[in-house]
């Protein structure tokens, strides 16, 4: 009851400053929530990368655990840099790691000679171009695309996840 009264007093215009702060806070909270909920889409070069995959298969590919596609093409991984918002979401959502953890993971794997390092990009358009020009390349972006030589990969029956 008391809490309801407090909220009413804020909206009643007693203090424009408090009202402004409250609304700004709500706006920032909404934005931050939205950033965490960004959907991801896997895109792949039409040569090698299958049209559909399971989430577990995608993770294995992006962890460097799959060296070749079924047609024999080498897997080439394209990711957004981990200091970009999309790169952060990719690290968290797909790898279950922070950006630093993901970079360390790849540093270790490459140092061991177990895998080729992914190619990291600062812009989605650069990543898309790379995937379109490299057979066997797979990348993660935020929404499906329709450009030549690139397909959006359906993951567990969905275009985005």
């Amino acid at each position: 009851m008391k809490r309801t009264t407090t909220l009413i007093s804020i909206f009643s215009g007693k203090s424009a400053f408090i009202k402004y702060c409250f609304l700004t806070g709500c706006f920032i909270f909404t934005l931050s929530g939205k950033a965490q909920q960004t959907t991801l889409t896997a895109i792949g070069n039409i040569s090698g990368v299958p049209a559909e995959m399971k989430q577990s298969e995608l993770k294995a590919v992006l962890m460097g655990e799959t060296q070749r596609w079924k047609n024999g093409k080498r897997v080439v991984i394209a990711l957004m840099k981990t200091n970009t918002p999309l790169g952060k979401t990719t690290s968290t959502k797909i790898y279950d790691m922070s950006g630093d953890e993901l970079n360390k993971y790849w540093l270790s794997l490459v140092f061991q000679g177990k895998s080729q390092a992914p190619v990291f990009f600062t812009s989605v358009s650069e990543l898309q171009n790379f995937v379109s020009q490299n057979p066997g390349a797979i990348g993660i972006i935020d929404k499906p695309v329709a450009i030549s030589d690139v397909r959006s990969v359906i993951i567990d029956g969905k275009a985005s996840f």
Binding site: E65, R68, R74, K104
Partner: protein
């Protein structure tokens, strides 16, 4: 000889560039400050490694270490740590040629000279006391992430201990067979076996071996690097047989545990133990135990600061107590 290997690696590097393939040069370095009755500063190995995709199926990895060596003319020595040419046969199966980190143990194969990746400042005694052969030069096969259990294997035939970088010193070959599984994320279980015949008169780690030694090494490892808790433990049983002493057993192992307070702060402990059987002739018998307690601050994935206390109890010689700080970087 080392120069020959260096030029082999360098030629592959140049070849990769001329093919327009992706080639990267990276490295590791560390600076330490230690206190053991007196304060002292120093820098460790400067490790440079090159990775290159030569073709769609051929890749190259070369690793060269520059380190202080009081006996070298320039007081620095160059060591070719790895020269690996990998040919992808099919899927996750590869043919491997060259000088590799013997894939007997998790630490040796995973970290080796990458001190920014080490969970502690120094290697466990298992590796610093020459219990296992750190490198092998030869050829073999490897596979990884096969099936649901993510099974991996290494089968490698090499020149063996006592050989030089360019030729074998005897007819015997070393054999390494290793396997591991990763049943869940962030967990790896490994088991390995190594066999070698070390000829009488061979020079191993700067020591002459007086008698022919048949060596069997059996190792097991558990590595669990979770989001909070870190556990790494390895145990090696070494069976060294000579005609005069029979078979002598050495047990060497360590256990490391760390806990991430936050993502960047990790207090940790490590316990090492090496026990030699009386009459051991191949190793220099000196039973040792070590206890390490430290704190790791990971500034980012390329810069790590560690502060550590270590107590080493020796069967022969004085015990060691030291405090060491290390700033390790990758570049």
């Amino acid at each position: 000889m080392k120069i020959k290997l260096f030029f082999t690696g360098f030629s592959l590097f140049i070849a990769a560039i001329s093919y327009g393939q992706s080639t990267q040069i990276r490295g590791f370095l560390d600076v330490t400050g230690a206190y053991n009755k007196k304060a002292t500063f120093g820098f460790g190995e400067q490790d440079l490694y090159i990775t290159s995709a030569i073709s769609d199926r051929i890749s190259f990895l070369g690793e060269t270490v520059f380190r202080y060596d009081s006996e070298a003319h320039s007081e620095f020595a160059i060591s070719i740590e790895r020269v690996i040419i990998t040919y992808n046969l099919k899927g996750n199966h590869n043919l491997v040629l060259g000088k590799i980190h013997t894939p007997l143990n998790y630490w040796n194969d995973t970290y080796h000279h990458g001190r920014v990746l080490f969970p502690t400042i120094d290697r466990p005694l298992l590796f610093s006391q020459n219990i296992i052969p750190l490198h092998t030069l030869g050829a073999g096969f490897e596979g990884s992430n096969l099936g649901k259990m993510k099974f991996g294997y290494n089968v490698f035939v090499g020149n063996g201990l006592g050989s030089s970088e360019v030729e074998d010193n005897d007819r015997a070959k070393s054999v390494t067979v290793a396997m591991h599984i990763k049943p869940v994320d962030r967990l790896r279980l490994g088991l390995s076996y190594y066999y070698d015949v070390i000829s009488a008169g061979a020079d191993v780690h700067g020591m002459d071996v007086d008698h022919l030694v048949n060596q069997h090494l059996i190792s097991a490892s558990v590595a669990r690097f979770g989001k909070k808790f870190e556990l790494l433990t390895e145990m090696t049983t070494a069976l060294n047989h000579t005609d005069t002493t029979g078979t002598k057993t050495t047990l060497a192992g360590y256990i490391y545990a760390g806990y991430k307070i936050k993502e960047k702060y990790v207090p940790y402990v490590r316990y090492d133990n090496i026990q030699y059987q009386n009459g051991e002739m191949y190793y220099t018998k000196n039973n040792r135990q070590s206890f390490v307690a430290g704190f790791r601050y990971e500034i980012n994935y390329l810069a790590v600061v560690k502060l550590e206390y270590q107590h080493i109890a020796n069967e022969f010689g004085l015990d060691v107590n030291k405090v060491t700080a290390q700033f390790a970087i990758g570049f």
